[in-house]
């Protein structure tokens, strides 16, 4: 990817609405409109519209698609019913996480959403390893919007009747303002909400339609980050990377029961051993004492001041009005209530291991408007 930030389909739409554009994952994207704090609180109280068109949308098709994907992911896809999605991980031979993603069974094919910064590598990785009969299509012509918050269902149901019937982690084909859309009840803020895949040429019209609803305001990357941090959700490239296993990352829920027993995915040997004996380190949530945020890159230190881990995400939680962080700490220091010493900018801080999410999830598991 070049250093130049490429324009996404909604580039001028964001600029016209006062979005402050910054380079992210190779694209120019809005970091904020009116301010991170206000946008964060608006999403938790009403509904926020996020442009996540930088993410990679893939179709994986062919009679061997299920088997082929299972050779690369630790998910039990045989249990994934039509129109359902689940969180999974692309793993390397050492059990390290190449990417985290959402995979949906959509009729005869799988629809996968991967991170923007990693999509080119993911595609290359998959093409080299999937059976030759499997066709992988990168849907470059698709845009992706997320509508998140307690009033998202009411706002979206007005434009795309029926979406309110979707339960969390299910999706279906809808029409919104005459445009074809694949809509799932999912997202990355901890709130109820939807992700809406549409053709890039329809993106402006659909975004305008959504933003015109009284409940909805456009929200930038800044609030997206603080929302997902409060929700305890890891961000690839920060909290997850090629050298981190699902056990270390505390993402064992993504390791399906049958797959744990049978293996047959990259890194299984190491992962099975870590599931049994524990790993060296673990991702935990930390509540930081005082008001000063501890940021990504701060060190976890022991009593002698030696580095034993790292903060991978950190900031001020607008909902809690307190600083929070995610960090990797030694496996035996990961119990909730454990005090962790952190060093940032030459200063020591104390964090307490806290169960995540920091702010409770409000997913609509049974469908229906809230």
């Amino acid at each position: 990817m070049s250093d130049e930030a490429a324009a996404l389909p909604l580039d001028s739409w964001h600029r016209a609405r006062g979005g402050r554009m910054v380079p992210f994952a190779g694209y120019a994207m809005p970091v904020q409109y009116e301010g991170i704090m206000a946008e964060h609180k608006w999403t938790r109280a009403s509904a926020g519209l996020f442009d996540v068109s930088h993410m990679g949308q893939l179709i994986i098709a062919g009679p061997e698609a299920e088997k082929g994907l299972e050779s690369q992911l630790p998910a039990d896809l045989t249990l994934l019913k039509d129109g359902r999605l689940r969180y999974s991980l692309l793993l390397n031979a050492e059990g390290g996480i190449i990417d985290d993603l959402m995979v949906t069974r959509r009729g005869t094919h799988f629809y996968m959403v991967v991170n923007g910064a990693t999509k080119a590598g993911d595609i290359e990785h998959l093409e080299a390893r999937l059976p030759r009969s499997v066709v992988l299509d990168h849907m470059k012509e698709q845009a992706l919007l997320a509508l998140q918050g307690p009033k998202a269902a009411a706002a979206l149901a007005r434009l795309a009747p029926g979406v309110e019937q979707l339960a969390f982690m299910t999706g279906g084909a809808f029409e919104i303002g005459g445009a074809k859309a694949w809509i799932s009840r999912s997202g990355y803020t901890g709130e109820d909400g939807f992700e809406i895949s549409i053709l890039a040429r329809d993106a402006e019209a659909v975004a305008t339609l959504l933003a015109d609803q009284d409940e909805v305001k456009p929200i930038g990357l800044g609030a997206r980050d603080s929302l997902r941090l409060e929700a305890g959700l890891p961000l690839y490239g920060h909290d997850l990377d090629q050298h981190t296993t699902p056990v270390e990352a505390d993402l064992t829920f993504a390791l399906s029961k049958r797959r744990r027993a049978e293996g047959g995915f990259p890194g299984w040997n190491r992962i099975a051993k870590e599931l049994q004996d524990g790993a060296i380190r673990k991702r935990v949530g930390l509540a930081i004492e005082g008001r000063q945020p501890v940021r990504e890159g701060a060190l976890v230190v022991d009593g002698e001041g030696n580095e034993t881990g790292k903060v991978t995400s950190g900031g001020f939680a607008p909902t809690l009005e307190a600083p929070i962080a995610m960090a990797y700490v030694p496996w035996d220091s990961a119990e909730p209530g454990t005090k962790i010493t952190l060093e940032s900018r030459g200063k020591l801080f104390t964090g307490t291991v806290t169960p995540m999410p920091f702010v409770p999830h409000r997913y609509q598991r049974k469908g229906g408007a809230s």
């Binding site: 991170i36 945020p293 900031g315």
Partner: protein
């Protein structure tokens, strides 16, 4: 009373040999919602360019450098208790600290309001 500005987007209001320091409206706009402020204690001596205070927003941490040398006479407890004052009144109630100037000549290296306005326009 004269107000001077720095390239690091601080303002310095000078009355006699006393100076009040804060960050500009432009700076608070760039930082966004301020959530934490640390100010120096009275009695601390600072040299021009030293890290004198800390300001953190939701998205970033940054240092506030002493725009001039001197001895701190007061840190603003109000912004420590209510960091959002930096956003709502950056060049008034949201000041950071006061100091007694060590060397008036240092002021000549700072920008006037007009010069600072031009400087900001070039940054946008």
């Amino acid at each position: 009373m004269t107000v001077y500005y720095t390239r690091e987007h601080e303002w310095v209001r000078v009355e006699g040999d006393s100076a009040t320091v804060g960050i500009t409206d432009f700076a608070q706009g760039q930082l966004g919602d301020v959530v934490f402020v640390e100010v120096p204690d009275a009695g601390k001596t600072v040299s021009k360019g030293d890290e004198a205070a800390v300001v953190e927003s939701v998205k970033a941490a940054s240092d506030v450098y002493a725009p001039v040398s001197g001895t701190v006479t007061e840190g603003n407890q109000a912004v420590v208790d209510e960091p959002s004052l930096v956003n709502t009144d950056p060049e008034g109630e949201g000041w950071f600290f006061k100091l007694t100037l060590a060397d008036n000549h240092e002021l000549s290296e700072l920008m006037s309001a007009d010069q600072y306005q031009t400087y900001c326009a070039e940054q946008e």
